[in-house]
């Protein structure tokens, strides 16, 4: 029972973290049709900025300032890189952001070295939120989850109930029409790109302290974020939320299950044969935890190619 609750919480919070990064990616895609390969790099930049700044200005200001800096980087990327190649088409934009993600990772290695840096939770936040049987649950995880939920609420309310939100949604739905009605669509694009980057930066600043901050974190999370947006449906915020939670929970539960396909087959009396056959059959589910999200993605592509909540082809 304890295991169930802890896994449930861990999975949900990891899922919320995935959502913080994939929200920006899916918004940017829905709006401009650009799949931003460098999006997870913004997450990494957020963590490294916060790590650098916290020494000078303390943890809380660093968590506020670093997303703003990352947002500015995002604005610069949109203004000076993406906009210049826009007329070459989406594949070209994807390749450009791919190159940029490469450069960001190498620059991080240049400045901070190719190893994890010592970015940790401040002592004032390092306490147990509550007790579950014998184990205590860290407050910081709850804190990360809270930030993600708050973020989802703010974005959702902004997009649905404010004037800016209406302009942004119209720019997503019919960019040309919105432009004809006198709205500055390129400016809206730049703003959304910057805010998406800042959200990823915030996720990095908060989560970098809990997980490790190293030059590979962008790639590790980035691949998972792509899975999330494909499963959820590109361009859909609700889909991203759903898929993030789903993948977070699946990962958390599969890590703790020490069973293999052979054990399942043993129920039908074929255990000995499966043990001999080896290979995939005897692999423990826990060691496959990293693989399951990809398998889920392939399954979704087979049965519902536009994703759980996606409409756009």
């Amino acid at each position: 029972m304890e295991y169930l609750i802890v896994s449930l919480l861990n999975g949900a919070i990891y899922g919320l973290l995935l959502f913080m990064v994939s929200a920006g990616l899916t918004l940017i895609f829905g709006m401009m049709g650009v799949l931003n390969f460098a999006h997870a790099s913004f997450y990494m930049l957020g963590a490294y900025f916060a790590y650098t700044l916290q020494g000078a200005i303390g943890f809380w200001p660093a968590i506020v300032v670093s997303p703003i800096l990352v947002g500015l980087v995002g604005v610069a990327v949109e203004r000076f890189f993406l906009r210049r190649v826009h007329h070459h088409g989406h594949a070209h934009e994807l390749l450009l952001t791919f190159g940029l993600s490469f450069i960001v990772a190498e620059l991080i290695k240049l400045f901070f070295g190719n190893f994890p840096v010592d970015y940790r939770i401040p002592a004032s936040l390092d306490f147990a939120a509550f007790q579950l049987g014998v184990s205590s649950y860290p407050f910081y995880r709850v804190f990360m989850g809270g930030i993600a939920v708050a973020m989802f609420a703010v974005i959702y309310l902004l997009l649905t109930y404010t004037r800016v939100g209406i302009v942004v949604r119209s720019a997503i739905y019919k960019p040309r029409m919105a432009e004809a009605l006198g709205h500055n669509v390129p400016l809206v694009f730049m703003g959304v790109f910057g805010i998406g980057a800042a959200l990823a930066g915030l996720a990095g600043a908060v989560a970098g302290a809990f997980y490790t901050t190293n030059p590979n974190m962008a790639l590790e999370l980035g691949v998972m974020v792509f899975v999330v947006v494909v499963v959820g449906g590109l361009g859909s915020l609700e889909g991203a939320m759903l898929a993030s939670l789903l993948i977070g929970l699946i990962t958390a539960f599969s890590v703790g299950i020490d069973r293999s396909l052979a054990d399942l087959l043993a129920l039908f009396g074929a255990g000995a044969w499966a043990g001999e056959a080896g290979g995939l059959l005897t692999l423990k589910l826990s060691s496959l935890a990293g693989t399951i999200p990809f398998a889920l993605m392939l399954l979704i592509l087979l049965v519902r190619p536009s994703g759980l909540m996606g409409e756009k082809e």
Binding site: L35, H88, F98, L100, L107, L110, V223, F226, M297, P305
Partner: protein, 431 residues
């Protein structure tokens, strides 16, 4: 494209001759580097069939390279260089497994197009990468598998020269086959898939089947490249599935230019050679590679091969006399920019390295001078940083000057430009 001109034939023969003569003049380590280059060339050419000609951008092509590699290692261990698959024919095993894997993966991936396709290929490669270390029997776990090249057909395959010729034979054969593929009706349809898949569907073609076919053929040649790698290294490790390998082939191909058949091959050869040449000099080679890639994507989307081709076409249209000074100025500007960038990056790399930090701490707080390019540079003096700044500024000014003169030349001779354009268009649509 079908009517290969006489100059092209001569160039082709000369190139092949030069490649055949290489081991006679090169040192052992350079022969090894050439083998790596040839493998990278074939890998890039196979990638280009899918991404350049088919318009299906793959971020996971290393998966099929790796599968070819492991298949060959298993075949080498199974047959011991004789029997059904003697050593020289081993790449067939890599190609066959690559083809099968390509059929399976391609069936999934080509269900979607565009950015979705790119993400599926990425996910498939990551799937394999995360699964491989757990499958000890197939991929040898973290340690990988090793094997031996056995003698066959009276050849020992003991020294690098023999491996070089074996690799050269397979690479040239594969390139020829890939080129012939572009001439077949299916090859022409592949271009159609890139340009307008809807129209193909409208004409009654099954685009999914076509996509799977192109994917599988591309994966087959990637598998052959992987097989050659296994033959060369006599081992295979699951790190071949790493995303950096998939990234390298994307960077190489686009730097070379995907619009031309030999563009990616050129890019792969040049980048692999530079990677080999500077591997002892810098730790930031990947950073330079990334910068070159982004610059190519932003300012010359046709890549190196496109640049050379446009130089040749415009040379015909305007005559070489006005074009050469512009090219010269452009090259000087590029060199200045390279100098400035390299200086900045290397200086930063040394300044932020751990060795330097601990040395500075030992020194009692001051920043000791950094040796670079045979001189000592004071890292906190503004004079030091003025050097790269001046180089970069001069480089940008020179490149802009070249660009301005080029535009003026084009304006002055609009008729010649039309001729050049007509020539490019004819090349593009030979039909």
């Amino acid at each position: 494209m079908t009517n290969v001109s006489n100059t092209q034939k001569t160039l082709l023969l000369l190139g092949t001759g030069a490649l055949l003569a290489l081991p006679l003049v090169l040192s052992q380590s350079l022969v090894n580097a050439s083998i790596q280059m040839l493998i990278a060339v074939l890998f890039a050419a196979s990638f280009n069939l899918l991404s350049g000609q088919g318009g299906m951008l793959s971020f996971g092509h290393a998966a099929y390279f790796g599968i070819g590699s492991f298949a060959t290692v298993h075949a080498m261990n199974a047959f011991g260089g004789n029997g059904l698959l003697p050593t020289p024919l081993l790449p067939l095993a890599g190609g066959a497994l690559g083809l099968v894997a390509g059929l399976a993966a391609g069936w999934f991936a080509t269900k979607r197009t565009g950015v979705y396709f790119a993400m599926i290929t990425l996910a498939l490669a990551e799937l394999l990468h995360s699964l491989a270390p757990h499958l000890k029997g197939w991929f040898g776990g973290e340690a990988g598998l090793s094997t031996m090249r056995m003698p066959a057909w009276g050849l020992t395959f003991g020294d690098s020269n023999q491996v070089y010729y074996l690799t050269l034979f397979w690479v040239l054969l594969s390139l020829a086959l890939l080129y012939l593929f572009t001439l077949t009706p299916v090859g022409r349809l592949t271009l159609g898939l890139r340009e307008n898949a809807n129209r193909l569907r409208f004409l009654g073609y099954d685009t999914h089947r076509l996509g799977v076919l192109v994917f599988a053929v591309s994966a087959m040649f990637a598998g052959i490249a992987g097989a050659l790698q296994a033959l060369n290294m006599e081992a295979a490790n699951y790190v071949v599935f790493e995303s950096s390998a998939s990234a390298a082939v994307v960077l190489n191909s686009y730097i070379g230019g995907v619009k031309l058949f030999l563009g990616p091959a050129l890019g792969a050869a040049v980048m692999t050679f530079f990677g080999y040449a500077v591997s002892d000099l810098t730790r930031s080679w990947l950073l330079y590679q990334g910068i070159v890639f982004v610059l190519v994507m932003m300012f010359m989307p046709t890549g190196l091969a496109g640049l050379i081709k446009s130089f040749a076409t415009h040379g015909k249209a305007y005559g070489l006399r006005p074009l050469l000074p512009i090219a010269l100025v452009f090259i000087i500007g590029t060199l200045l920019l390279t100098g400035g960038t390299v200086f900045t990056v290397e200086m930063l790399q040394r300044f932020f390295s751990q060795d330097y930090r601990s040395m500075a701490a030992l020194n009692g707080g001051g920043w000791p001078a950094i040796p670079l390019f045979g001189r000592e540079w004071d890292p906190v003096s503004p004079l030091t940083w003025l050097v790269p700044a001046a180089l970069l500024a001069a480089g940008i000014a020179t490149v802009r000057l070249a660009n301005g003169r080029w535009l003026r030349l084009k304006d002055a001779a609009p008729a010649a430009e039309a001729v050049a354009h007509a020539a490019t268009n004819v090349r593009r649509n030979p039909a």
